[in-house]
Protein backbone atom coordinates (compact mmCIF):
# COMPACT_ATOMS: atom_id res chain seq x y z
CA UNK A 1 0.00 0.00 0.00
CA UNK A 2 1.28 3.45 -0.86
CA UNK A 3 1.63 5.80 2.02
CA UNK A 4 0.51 9.39 2.09
CA UNK A 5 3.93 10.95 2.62
CA UNK A 6 5.15 9.53 -0.67
CA UNK A 7 2.75 11.83 -2.47
CA UNK A 8 4.91 14.77 -1.50
CA UNK A 9 7.29 13.87 -4.31
CA UNK A 10 5.33 15.76 -6.93
CA UNK A 11 4.77 19.48 -6.63
CA UNK A 12 2.13 21.87 -7.91
CA UNK A 13 2.17 22.92 -11.55
CA UNK A 14 4.03 19.79 -12.35
CA UNK A 15 3.08 16.91 -14.53
CA UNK A 16 0.30 15.01 -12.80
CA UNK A 17 0.49 12.23 -15.38
CA UNK A 18 3.46 11.12 -17.42
CA UNK A 19 3.04 8.33 -19.89
CA UNK A 20 6.07 7.40 -21.93
CA UNK A 21 6.42 5.26 -25.01
CA UNK A 22 3.07 3.50 -24.62
CA UNK A 23 2.42 0.69 -27.05
CA UNK A 24 -0.67 -1.41 -27.53
CA UNK A 25 -1.31 -3.90 -30.31
CA UNK A 26 -4.44 -5.91 -31.03
CA UNK A 27 -3.21 -8.78 -33.18
CA UNK A 28 -1.79 -7.15 -36.26
CA UNK A 29 -3.26 -3.74 -35.51
CA UNK A 30 -1.19 -1.19 -33.64
CA UNK A 31 -3.76 0.80 -31.68
CA UNK A 32 -1.33 2.95 -29.75
CA UNK A 33 2.21 3.32 -30.99
CA UNK A 34 4.98 4.74 -28.87
CA UNK A 35 2.85 7.56 -27.49
CA UNK A 36 4.25 9.99 -24.93
CA UNK A 37 1.65 11.90 -22.97
CA UNK A 38 2.26 14.47 -20.28
CA UNK A 39 -0.61 16.08 -18.45
CA UNK A 40 0.08 19.14 -16.33
CA UNK A 41 -1.72 19.59 -13.08
CA UNK A 42 -4.84 21.71 -13.48
CA UNK A 43 -4.97 21.79 -17.27
CA UNK A 44 -7.75 20.72 -19.60
CA UNK A 45 -6.21 18.67 -22.36
CA UNK A 46 -8.07 17.73 -25.53
CA UNK A 47 -7.49 14.45 -27.33
CA UNK A 48 -8.68 14.44 -30.94
CA UNK A 49 -8.21 12.35 -34.04
CA UNK A 50 -10.15 10.32 -36.60
CA UNK A 51 -12.14 7.25 -35.58
CA UNK A 52 -9.82 4.38 -34.78
CA UNK A 53 -6.92 6.69 -33.99
CA UNK A 54 -6.41 5.04 -30.61
CA UNK A 55 -7.93 7.69 -28.35
CA UNK A 56 -10.16 5.38 -26.34
CA UNK A 57 -7.44 2.71 -26.27
CA UNK A 58 -5.17 5.32 -24.72
CA UNK A 59 -7.83 6.02 -22.09
CA UNK A 60 -8.14 2.30 -21.46
CA UNK A 61 -4.38 2.06 -20.92
CA UNK A 62 -4.33 5.03 -18.54
CA UNK A 63 -7.28 3.78 -16.50
CA UNK A 64 -6.02 0.19 -16.37
CA UNK A 65 -8.78 -1.39 -18.46
CA UNK A 66 -6.06 -2.61 -20.81
CA UNK A 67 -2.45 -3.48 -20.11
CA UNK A 68 0.11 -1.73 -22.28
CA UNK A 69 2.47 -4.00 -24.22
CA UNK A 70 5.26 -1.67 -23.22
CA UNK A 71 5.73 1.78 -21.77
CA UNK A 72 5.45 3.38 -18.37
CA UNK A 73 2.65 5.39 -16.79
CA UNK A 74 3.40 7.58 -13.81
CA UNK A 75 0.66 9.35 -11.88
CA UNK A 76 1.45 11.90 -9.17
CA UNK A 77 5.00 10.64 -9.16
CA UNK A 78 4.14 6.94 -8.73
CA UNK A 79 4.45 4.20 -11.26
CA UNK A 80 0.92 2.93 -11.90
CA UNK A 81 1.75 0.75 -14.90
CA UNK A 82 -0.03 -2.58 -14.70
CA UNK A 83 -2.31 -1.66 -11.80
CA UNK A 84 -5.92 -2.82 -11.92
CA UNK A 85 -8.71 -0.37 -12.79
CA UNK A 86 -10.04 -0.21 -9.22
CA UNK A 87 -6.56 0.48 -7.86
CA UNK A 88 -6.02 3.28 -10.36
CA UNK A 89 -9.48 4.68 -9.61
CA UNK A 90 -8.68 4.84 -5.90
CA UNK A 91 -5.42 6.61 -6.61
CA UNK A 92 -7.33 9.44 -8.23
CA UNK A 93 -8.03 8.78 -11.91
CA UNK A 94 -11.75 8.72 -12.71
CA UNK A 95 -13.30 8.20 -16.11
CA UNK A 96 -16.48 8.15 -18.13
CA UNK A 97 -17.25 5.91 -21.09
CA UNK A 98 -17.84 6.52 -24.75
CA UNK A 99 -21.10 4.60 -24.56
CA UNK A 100 -22.58 5.46 -21.19
CA UNK A 101 -22.22 2.78 -18.55
CA UNK A 102 -24.66 3.75 -15.87
CA UNK A 103 -26.36 1.27 -13.52
CA UNK A 104 -29.83 1.02 -14.99
CA UNK A 105 -31.66 -0.28 -11.91
CA UNK A 106 -29.79 1.82 -9.39
CA UNK A 107 -30.97 5.21 -8.15
CA UNK A 108 -29.13 8.36 -9.12
CA UNK A 109 -28.00 9.04 -5.57
CA UNK A 110 -26.68 5.50 -5.17
CA UNK A 111 -24.45 5.98 -8.22
CA UNK A 112 -22.84 8.93 -6.50
CA UNK A 113 -22.66 7.10 -3.18
CA UNK A 114 -20.84 4.25 -4.89
CA UNK A 115 -18.32 6.65 -6.40
CA UNK A 116 -17.82 8.26 -3.01
CA UNK A 117 -17.52 5.04 -1.01
CA UNK A 118 -15.23 3.13 -3.36
CA UNK A 119 -13.34 5.73 -5.37
CA UNK A 120 -11.32 7.14 -2.52
CA UNK A 121 -8.45 5.79 -0.49
CA UNK A 122 -10.09 7.21 2.60
CA UNK A 123 -13.55 8.64 3.11
CA UNK A 124 -15.28 10.56 5.84
CA UNK A 125 -18.08 9.44 8.14
CA UNK A 126 -21.66 8.83 7.10
CA UNK A 127 -22.88 12.42 7.52
CA UNK A 128 -19.87 13.77 5.72
CA UNK A 129 -20.51 11.32 2.88
CA UNK A 130 -24.19 12.22 2.52
CA UNK A 131 -23.37 15.92 2.55
CA UNK A 132 -20.76 15.59 -0.18
CA UNK A 133 -22.97 13.30 -2.25
CA UNK A 134 -25.78 15.88 -2.14
CA UNK A 135 -23.35 18.63 -3.00
CA UNK A 136 -22.23 16.76 -6.11
CA UNK A 137 -25.86 16.13 -7.12
CA UNK A 138 -26.54 19.85 -6.79
CA UNK A 139 -23.44 20.74 -8.77
CA UNK A 140 -24.41 18.33 -11.53
CA UNK A 141 -28.03 19.55 -11.55
CA UNK A 142 -29.20 16.03 -10.72
CA UNK A 143 -30.59 16.75 -7.25
CA UNK A 144 -34.21 16.85 -8.45
CA UNK A 145 -33.96 13.29 -9.81
CA UNK A 146 -31.94 11.74 -6.99
CA UNK A 147 -34.31 8.82 -6.45
CA UNK A 148 -34.92 8.10 -10.14
CA UNK A 149 -33.37 4.97 -11.62
CA UNK A 150 -30.46 5.26 -14.01
CA UNK A 151 -32.44 3.81 -16.90
CA UNK A 152 -35.17 6.44 -16.50
CA UNK A 153 -32.88 9.36 -17.33
CA UNK A 154 -32.46 10.90 -20.76
CA UNK A 155 -29.05 10.55 -22.41
CA UNK A 156 -27.83 14.01 -21.41
CA UNK A 157 -28.62 13.27 -17.77
CA UNK A 158 -27.12 9.79 -17.96
CA UNK A 159 -23.91 11.43 -19.14
CA UNK A 160 -24.09 13.91 -16.26
CA UNK A 161 -24.68 10.97 -13.94
CA UNK A 162 -21.51 9.29 -15.17
CA UNK A 163 -19.59 12.46 -14.51
CA UNK A 164 -21.22 12.77 -11.07
CA UNK A 165 -20.20 9.21 -10.20
CA UNK A 166 -16.66 9.99 -11.32
CA UNK A 167 -16.56 13.27 -9.39
CA UNK A 168 -17.71 11.57 -6.21
CA UNK A 169 -14.37 9.79 -6.12
CA UNK A 170 -12.76 13.21 -5.76
CA UNK A 171 -10.41 12.52 -8.65
CA UNK A 172 -7.25 14.47 -9.38
CA UNK A 173 -7.51 13.49 -13.02
CA UNK A 174 -10.74 13.03 -14.92
CA UNK A 175 -10.87 11.25 -18.28
CA UNK A 176 -13.94 12.24 -20.30
CA UNK A 177 -14.64 10.08 -23.33
CA UNK A 178 -16.86 11.95 -25.80
CA UNK A 179 -19.02 13.75 -23.32
CA UNK A 180 -20.67 15.81 -26.05
CA UNK A 181 -21.58 12.96 -28.41
CA UNK A 182 -25.31 12.66 -28.95
CA UNK A 183 -26.23 15.85 -27.11
CA UNK A 184 -28.44 18.63 -28.46
CA UNK A 185 -26.84 22.07 -28.91
CA UNK A 186 -28.40 23.31 -25.67
CA UNK A 187 -27.26 20.25 -23.74
CA UNK A 188 -23.83 20.62 -25.28
CA UNK A 189 -23.55 24.20 -24.11
CA UNK A 190 -24.44 23.08 -20.60
CA UNK A 191 -21.89 20.27 -20.76
CA UNK A 192 -19.19 22.68 -21.91
CA UNK A 193 -20.01 24.98 -19.03
CA UNK A 194 -19.77 22.00 -16.70
CA UNK A 195 -16.31 21.00 -17.91
CA UNK A 196 -15.10 24.57 -17.45
CA UNK A 197 -16.46 24.66 -13.91
CA UNK A 198 -14.76 21.37 -13.06
CA UNK A 199 -11.53 22.83 -14.42
CA UNK A 200 -11.99 25.86 -12.18
CA UNK A 201 -12.41 23.52 -9.24
CA UNK A 202 -8.88 22.36 -9.89
CA UNK A 203 -9.61 19.00 -11.48
CA UNK A 204 -7.20 18.09 -14.23
CA UNK A 205 -9.15 16.89 -17.26
CA UNK A 206 -8.28 14.97 -20.40
CA UNK A 207 -11.17 14.86 -22.85
CA UNK A 208 -11.68 12.92 -26.05
CA UNK A 209 -13.98 14.87 -28.29
CA UNK A 210 -15.12 15.11 -31.87
CA UNK A 211 -17.02 18.36 -31.38
CA UNK A 212 -14.35 20.87 -32.40
CA UNK A 213 -16.22 23.85 -31.02
CA UNK A 214 -16.11 22.31 -27.58
CA UNK A 215 -12.45 21.35 -27.82
CA UNK A 216 -11.33 24.73 -29.09
CA UNK A 217 -13.36 26.51 -26.47
CA UNK A 218 -12.38 24.59 -23.41
CA UNK A 219 -8.95 23.07 -23.87
CA UNK A 220 -5.72 24.84 -23.18
CA UNK A 221 -3.78 22.23 -25.09
CA UNK A 222 -4.65 19.63 -27.69
CA UNK A 223 -3.06 16.37 -28.75
CA UNK A 224 -3.89 14.84 -32.13
CA UNK A 225 -3.69 11.09 -32.60
CA UNK A 226 -3.80 9.24 -35.90
CA UNK A 227 -3.29 5.52 -36.45
CA UNK A 228 -1.99 5.20 -32.93
CA UNK A 229 0.68 7.85 -33.41
CA UNK A 230 0.89 11.27 -31.90
CA UNK A 231 0.52 13.56 -34.89
CA UNK A 232 0.65 16.97 -33.26
CA UNK A 233 0.48 18.71 -29.93
CA UNK A 234 -0.13 22.36 -29.09
CA UNK A 235 -2.57 25.15 -28.29
CA UNK A 236 -5.90 25.23 -30.15
CA UNK A 237 -4.50 27.93 -32.45
CA UNK A 238 -1.44 25.92 -33.32
CA UNK A 239 -3.53 22.84 -34.00
CA UNK A 240 -5.98 24.61 -36.32
CA UNK A 241 -3.07 25.91 -38.36
CA UNK A 242 -1.12 22.67 -38.45
CA UNK A 243 -0.98 21.41 -42.04
CA UNK A 244 -0.85 17.69 -41.26
CA UNK A 245 -3.74 17.93 -38.85
CA UNK A 246 -5.84 19.72 -41.44
CA UNK A 247 -5.02 17.05 -43.98
CA UNK A 248 -5.72 14.09 -41.74
CA UNK A 249 -8.53 15.24 -39.54
CA UNK A 250 -9.90 18.75 -39.66
CA UNK A 251 -10.21 19.12 -43.40
CA UNK A 252 -9.93 22.38 -45.34
Amino acid sequence: METQDKEGIYCENMKILEASRLNKRFGGLTAVSSVDLDVKEGEILGLIGPNGAGKTTLFNLLSGALKADSGVIRFKGHDITGLKPHQIARRGIARTFQSVKIFSRMSVIDHVRLGYLFGRLESGGKDEAEREVCEILEFMALASMRDALGRDLILANQKRLEVARALAAKPDLLLLDELMAGLTPTEMAAAMELVKQMGQRGITIVMIEHVMKAIMNICGRIIVLDHGLKLAEGTPEEITENKTVIEVYLGE
Binding site: K84, A94, R165, A169
Partner: protein, 313 residues
Amino acid sequence: MKTAGNKYGSFIALITLLALLVGVPGYMSSYTVILITNILMYVVLTLSWAIFSAPTGYISLASAAFFGTGVYASALLSSSLPLPVVIVIGGSASFTLAFLVGSLTLRLKGMYFTMFTFGLVELVRNSLHWWEVNITGTVGRIILSADNTAIFYSMVGIFVSVLLVSYLIKRSKFGLALESIGESEEAADHSGVNVTRVKAVTFAVSAFFMGAAGATMSMRWTYIDPTTAFNIQFSFMPVLMAIFGGTGHLYAPIAGATVFSLLEEMLTTKFPYYYMLIFGLIMLAVIRFMPHGLEGVIEKWRHRIKRESIVRI
Protein backbone atom coordinates in the same frame (compact mmCIF):
# COMPACT_ATOMS: atom_id res chain seq x y z
CA MET B 1 -36.31 3.73 0.11
CA LYS B 2 -38.61 2.28 2.65
CA THR B 3 -41.14 3.90 4.88
CA ALA B 4 -40.86 3.50 8.63
CA GLY B 5 -44.25 1.81 8.93
CA ASN B 6 -43.26 -0.74 6.38
CA LYS B 7 -40.04 -1.66 8.14
CA TYR B 8 -41.99 -2.00 11.36
CA GLY B 9 -44.45 -4.31 9.63
CA SER B 10 -41.76 -6.64 8.25
CA PHE B 11 -40.11 -6.74 11.64
CA ILE B 12 -43.32 -7.75 13.40
CA ALA B 13 -44.01 -10.35 10.73
CA LEU B 14 -40.55 -11.81 11.23
CA ILE B 15 -40.84 -11.92 15.02
CA THR B 16 -44.23 -13.61 14.77
CA LEU B 17 -42.84 -16.16 12.34
CA LEU B 18 -39.92 -16.90 14.64
CA ALA B 19 -42.15 -17.18 17.70
CA LEU B 20 -44.33 -19.69 15.85
CA LEU B 21 -41.27 -21.61 14.68
CA VAL B 22 -39.73 -21.81 18.12
CA GLY B 23 -42.94 -23.31 19.45
CA VAL B 24 -43.27 -25.93 16.70
CA PRO B 25 -41.55 -28.88 18.41
CA GLY B 26 -43.65 -28.28 21.53
CA TYR B 27 -47.09 -28.66 19.99
CA MET B 28 -46.60 -30.29 16.61
CA SER B 29 -46.12 -33.89 15.57
CA SER B 30 -42.65 -35.09 14.72
CA TYR B 31 -43.76 -35.43 11.09
CA THR B 32 -44.46 -31.68 11.05
CA VAL B 33 -41.14 -30.92 12.71
CA ILE B 34 -39.31 -32.87 10.03
CA LEU B 35 -41.41 -31.29 7.28
CA ILE B 36 -40.66 -27.78 8.52
CA THR B 37 -36.96 -28.61 8.89
CA ASN B 38 -37.00 -29.64 5.27
CA ILE B 39 -38.76 -26.46 4.21
CA LEU B 40 -36.31 -24.37 6.22
CA MET B 41 -33.43 -26.15 4.52
CA TYR B 42 -34.76 -25.06 1.13
CA VAL B 43 -35.43 -21.56 2.43
CA VAL B 44 -31.81 -21.36 3.62
CA LEU B 45 -30.49 -22.68 0.31
CA THR B 46 -32.61 -20.25 -1.70
CA LEU B 47 -31.77 -17.24 0.47
CA SER B 48 -28.07 -17.98 0.36
CA TRP B 49 -28.21 -18.59 -3.37
CA ALA B 50 -29.88 -15.19 -3.74
CA ILE B 51 -27.18 -13.42 -1.70
CA PHE B 52 -24.77 -13.90 -4.56
CA SER B 53 -26.79 -14.64 -7.67
CA ALA B 54 -29.64 -12.14 -7.30
CA PRO B 55 -27.64 -8.90 -7.34
CA THR B 56 -24.81 -10.05 -9.62
CA GLY B 57 -26.85 -12.02 -12.14
CA TYR B 58 -24.31 -14.87 -12.07
CA ILE B 59 -26.49 -17.96 -12.09
CA SER B 60 -24.73 -20.51 -9.92
CA LEU B 61 -25.52 -24.21 -10.01
CA ALA B 62 -22.84 -25.00 -7.45
CA SER B 63 -25.18 -25.09 -4.45
CA ALA B 64 -25.08 -28.89 -4.29
CA ALA B 65 -21.26 -28.82 -4.12
CA PHE B 66 -21.33 -26.56 -1.07
CA PHE B 67 -24.28 -28.33 0.51
CA GLY B 68 -22.56 -31.69 0.02
CA THR B 69 -19.30 -30.41 1.44
CA GLY B 70 -21.22 -29.50 4.59
CA VAL B 71 -22.85 -32.92 4.63
CA TYR B 72 -19.47 -34.66 4.47
CA ALA B 73 -17.82 -32.36 7.01
CA SER B 74 -20.59 -33.37 9.35
CA ALA B 75 -20.22 -37.05 8.50
CA LEU B 76 -16.55 -36.95 9.43
CA LEU B 77 -16.88 -34.90 12.59
CA SER B 78 -20.30 -35.38 14.14
CA SER B 79 -19.22 -38.30 16.31
CA SER B 80 -16.50 -36.30 18.01
CA LEU B 81 -17.77 -32.71 18.13
CA PRO B 82 -20.93 -30.93 19.34
CA LEU B 83 -23.55 -29.99 16.74
CA PRO B 84 -22.98 -26.19 16.58
CA VAL B 85 -19.23 -26.69 16.07
CA VAL B 86 -19.87 -29.22 13.32
CA ILE B 87 -22.22 -26.77 11.60
CA VAL B 88 -19.68 -23.94 11.72
CA ILE B 89 -16.93 -26.22 10.39
CA GLY B 90 -19.21 -27.47 7.60
CA GLY B 91 -20.00 -23.89 6.65
CA SER B 92 -16.35 -22.88 6.81
CA ALA B 93 -15.29 -25.77 4.58
CA SER B 94 -17.80 -24.66 1.95
CA PHE B 95 -16.75 -21.05 2.41
CA THR B 96 -13.14 -21.98 1.69
CA LEU B 97 -14.01 -24.11 -1.32
CA ALA B 98 -16.21 -21.34 -2.76
CA PHE B 99 -13.63 -18.66 -2.16
CA LEU B 100 -10.89 -20.62 -3.92
CA VAL B 101 -13.09 -21.68 -6.80
CA GLY B 102 -14.66 -18.22 -7.04
CA SER B 103 -11.32 -16.41 -7.16
CA LEU B 104 -10.28 -18.62 -10.07
CA THR B 105 -13.48 -18.79 -12.07
CA LEU B 106 -15.59 -15.71 -11.47
CA ARG B 107 -13.96 -14.23 -14.53
CA LEU B 108 -16.27 -16.50 -16.51
CA LYS B 109 -19.46 -14.78 -17.50
CA GLY B 110 -23.03 -15.83 -18.11
CA MET B 111 -23.57 -19.32 -19.43
CA TYR B 112 -19.90 -20.26 -19.03
CA PHE B 113 -19.99 -19.59 -15.33
CA THR B 114 -23.22 -21.53 -14.95
CA MET B 115 -21.80 -24.52 -16.81
CA PHE B 116 -18.67 -24.41 -14.72
CA THR B 117 -20.61 -24.43 -11.45
CA PHE B 118 -22.64 -27.35 -12.74
CA GLY B 119 -19.40 -29.16 -13.49
CA LEU B 120 -18.03 -28.33 -10.07
CA VAL B 121 -20.71 -30.42 -8.40
CA GLU B 122 -19.76 -33.43 -10.52
CA LEU B 123 -16.07 -32.82 -9.94
CA VAL B 124 -16.37 -32.68 -6.17
CA ARG B 125 -18.77 -35.61 -6.05
CA ASN B 126 -16.62 -37.84 -8.23
CA SER B 127 -13.39 -36.88 -6.50
CA LEU B 128 -14.95 -37.73 -3.17
CA HIS B 129 -16.33 -40.98 -4.52
CA TRP B 130 -12.89 -41.93 -5.82
CA TRP B 131 -11.35 -41.04 -2.47
CA GLU B 132 -13.88 -43.07 -0.51
CA VAL B 133 -13.55 -46.14 -2.72
CA ASN B 134 -9.79 -46.12 -3.21
CA ILE B 135 -8.39 -44.55 -0.05
CA THR B 136 -10.84 -45.07 2.78
CA GLY B 137 -12.46 -48.14 1.27
CA THR B 138 -16.06 -47.18 1.96
CA VAL B 139 -19.00 -46.25 -0.21
CA GLY B 140 -21.19 -44.47 2.27
CA ARG B 141 -21.06 -43.41 5.86
CA ILE B 142 -23.31 -43.92 8.81
CA ILE B 143 -23.86 -40.85 10.87
CA LEU B 144 -24.53 -40.62 14.54
CA SER B 145 -27.78 -38.73 14.26
CA ALA B 146 -28.93 -35.96 16.54
CA ASP B 147 -32.58 -35.82 17.57
CA ASN B 148 -35.09 -34.06 15.35
CA THR B 149 -35.68 -31.17 17.73
CA ALA B 150 -31.99 -30.27 17.87
CA ILE B 151 -31.76 -30.43 14.08
CA PHE B 152 -34.88 -28.30 13.81
CA TYR B 153 -33.53 -25.59 16.10
CA SER B 154 -30.17 -25.59 14.31
CA MET B 155 -31.95 -25.00 11.03
CA VAL B 156 -33.96 -22.16 12.57
CA GLY B 157 -30.68 -20.67 13.79
CA ILE B 158 -29.12 -20.89 10.32
CA PHE B 159 -32.28 -19.41 8.80
CA VAL B 160 -32.13 -16.42 11.15
CA SER B 161 -28.40 -15.94 10.44
CA VAL B 162 -28.73 -16.07 6.68
CA LEU B 163 -31.67 -13.69 6.81
CA LEU B 164 -29.73 -11.26 8.99
CA VAL B 165 -26.65 -11.45 6.79
CA SER B 166 -28.73 -10.92 3.62
CA TYR B 167 -30.38 -7.90 5.20
CA LEU B 168 -27.09 -6.39 6.35
CA ILE B 169 -25.45 -6.96 2.96
CA LYS B 170 -28.38 -5.32 1.16
CA ARG B 171 -28.11 -2.25 3.32
CA SER B 172 -24.35 -1.96 3.26
CA LYS B 173 -21.68 -0.46 1.06
CA PHE B 174 -20.88 -4.03 0.07
CA GLY B 175 -24.43 -4.54 -1.21
CA LEU B 176 -24.17 -1.40 -3.29
CA ALA B 177 -20.97 -2.75 -4.84
CA LEU B 178 -22.68 -6.08 -5.61
CA GLU B 179 -25.54 -4.32 -7.33
CA SER B 180 -23.15 -2.25 -9.41
CA ILE B 181 -21.33 -5.42 -10.45
CA GLY B 182 -24.62 -6.89 -11.67
CA GLU B 183 -25.22 -3.79 -13.77
CA SER B 184 -21.80 -3.15 -15.26
CA GLU B 185 -18.61 -4.76 -14.01
CA GLU B 186 -16.54 -2.36 -16.03
CA ALA B 187 -18.12 0.75 -14.56
CA ALA B 188 -17.93 -0.74 -11.05
CA ASP B 189 -14.27 -1.53 -11.52
CA HIS B 190 -13.46 1.98 -12.73
CA SER B 191 -15.38 3.41 -9.79
CA GLY B 192 -12.97 1.71 -7.41
CA VAL B 193 -14.83 -1.52 -6.63
CA ASN B 194 -12.51 -4.52 -6.33
CA VAL B 195 -14.85 -6.58 -8.49
CA THR B 196 -13.05 -9.92 -8.27
CA ARG B 197 -12.76 -9.83 -4.50
CA VAL B 198 -16.33 -8.67 -3.88
CA LYS B 199 -17.62 -11.49 -6.08
CA ALA B 200 -15.41 -14.15 -4.51
CA VAL B 201 -16.23 -13.10 -0.94
CA THR B 202 -19.96 -12.99 -1.60
CA PHE B 203 -19.88 -16.34 -3.36
CA ALA B 204 -18.08 -17.73 -0.31
CA VAL B 205 -20.50 -16.16 2.17
CA SER B 206 -23.44 -17.67 0.33
CA ALA B 207 -21.64 -21.05 0.29
CA PHE B 208 -21.09 -20.85 4.05
CA PHE B 209 -24.81 -21.09 4.74
CA MET B 210 -25.28 -23.86 2.19
CA GLY B 211 -22.54 -25.82 3.93
CA ALA B 212 -24.08 -25.14 7.32
CA ALA B 213 -27.43 -26.41 6.07
CA GLY B 214 -25.73 -29.52 4.68
CA ALA B 215 -23.94 -30.21 7.96
CA THR B 216 -27.27 -30.04 9.76
CA MET B 217 -29.27 -32.14 7.35
CA SER B 218 -26.59 -34.79 7.32
CA MET B 219 -27.56 -35.73 10.88
CA ARG B 220 -31.13 -36.31 9.89
CA TRP B 221 -30.26 -38.71 7.14
CA THR B 222 -28.14 -41.10 9.24
CA TYR B 223 -26.66 -42.74 6.11
CA ILE B 224 -25.01 -40.76 3.33
CA ASP B 225 -22.95 -41.39 0.24
CA PRO B 226 -21.61 -38.95 -2.37
CA THR B 227 -24.69 -39.39 -4.56
CA THR B 228 -27.14 -38.29 -1.88
CA ALA B 229 -24.91 -35.56 -0.45
CA PHE B 230 -24.13 -33.96 -3.82
CA ASN B 231 -27.52 -34.56 -5.40
CA ILE B 232 -27.83 -32.03 -8.22
CA GLN B 233 -31.35 -31.36 -7.01
CA PHE B 234 -29.79 -29.14 -4.34
CA SER B 235 -28.42 -26.99 -7.14
CA PHE B 236 -31.57 -26.74 -9.19
CA MET B 237 -34.12 -26.33 -6.43
CA PRO B 238 -32.80 -23.00 -5.09
CA VAL B 239 -32.80 -21.54 -8.60
CA LEU B 240 -36.34 -22.74 -9.30
CA MET B 241 -37.52 -21.54 -5.91
CA ALA B 242 -35.96 -18.13 -6.47
CA ILE B 243 -37.67 -17.89 -9.86
CA PHE B 244 -40.92 -19.01 -8.26
CA GLY B 245 -40.70 -16.54 -5.38
CA GLY B 246 -38.68 -13.66 -6.82
CA THR B 247 -35.54 -12.08 -5.42
CA GLY B 248 -36.23 -8.34 -5.15
CA HIS B 249 -37.33 -8.48 -1.52
CA LEU B 250 -36.10 -10.73 1.25
CA TYR B 251 -39.54 -12.23 1.82
CA ALA B 252 -39.68 -13.40 -1.80
CA PRO B 253 -37.18 -16.28 -1.70
CA ILE B 254 -38.65 -17.34 1.65
CA ALA B 255 -42.14 -17.43 0.20
CA GLY B 256 -40.92 -19.14 -2.98
CA ALA B 257 -39.05 -21.88 -1.14
CA THR B 258 -41.87 -22.46 1.34
CA VAL B 259 -44.68 -22.74 -1.18
CA PHE B 260 -42.54 -24.74 -3.57
CA SER B 261 -41.43 -27.31 -1.03
CA LEU B 262 -44.93 -27.67 0.38
CA LEU B 263 -46.11 -28.25 -3.14
CA GLU B 264 -43.42 -30.84 -3.66
CA GLU B 265 -44.35 -32.59 -0.42
CA MET B 266 -48.01 -32.60 -1.36
CA LEU B 267 -47.46 -33.83 -4.89
CA THR B 268 -45.01 -36.59 -3.96
CA THR B 269 -47.42 -38.01 -1.40
CA LYS B 270 -50.62 -37.59 -3.41
CA PHE B 271 -49.34 -38.27 -6.93
CA PRO B 272 -46.12 -40.24 -6.56
CA TYR B 273 -46.14 -41.26 -10.23
CA TYR B 274 -47.09 -38.01 -11.88
CA TYR B 275 -45.52 -35.53 -9.53
CA MET B 276 -42.62 -34.52 -11.82
CA LEU B 277 -45.07 -33.99 -14.65
CA ILE B 278 -47.38 -31.83 -12.57
CA PHE B 279 -44.39 -30.00 -11.20
CA GLY B 280 -43.19 -29.15 -14.69
CA LEU B 281 -46.62 -27.90 -15.71
CA ILE B 282 -46.82 -25.68 -12.64
CA MET B 283 -43.38 -24.27 -13.36
CA LEU B 284 -44.35 -23.50 -16.96
CA ALA B 285 -47.52 -21.78 -15.80
CA VAL B 286 -45.57 -19.71 -13.28
CA ILE B 287 -43.08 -18.51 -15.86
CA ARG B 288 -45.86 -17.78 -18.34
CA PHE B 289 -48.31 -16.03 -16.03
CA MET B 290 -46.17 -14.79 -13.14
CA PRO B 291 -42.91 -13.63 -14.73
CA HIS B 292 -41.87 -11.93 -11.49
CA GLY B 293 -42.92 -14.86 -9.35
CA LEU B 294 -44.96 -14.65 -6.19
CA GLU B 295 -43.22 -11.37 -5.45
CA GLY B 296 -44.64 -9.81 -8.60
CA VAL B 297 -48.16 -10.78 -7.57
CA ILE B 298 -47.71 -9.63 -3.99
CA GLU B 299 -46.18 -6.30 -4.97
CA LYS B 300 -48.92 -5.62 -7.48
CA TRP B 301 -51.49 -6.29 -4.79
CA ARG B 302 -49.65 -4.11 -2.27
CA HIS B 303 -49.53 -1.23 -4.71
CA ARG B 304 -53.16 -1.44 -5.47
CA ILE B 305 -53.86 -0.97 -1.79
CA LYS B 306 -51.26 1.59 -0.89
CA ARG B 307 -50.55 3.41 -4.12
CA GLU B 308 -46.97 3.94 -3.18
CA SER B 309 -43.81 3.64 -5.19
CA ILE B 310 -41.95 0.33 -5.09
CA VAL B 311 -40.27 -0.28 -1.79
CA ARG B 312 -37.37 -2.52 -0.98
CA ILE B 313 -36.27 -4.13 2.20
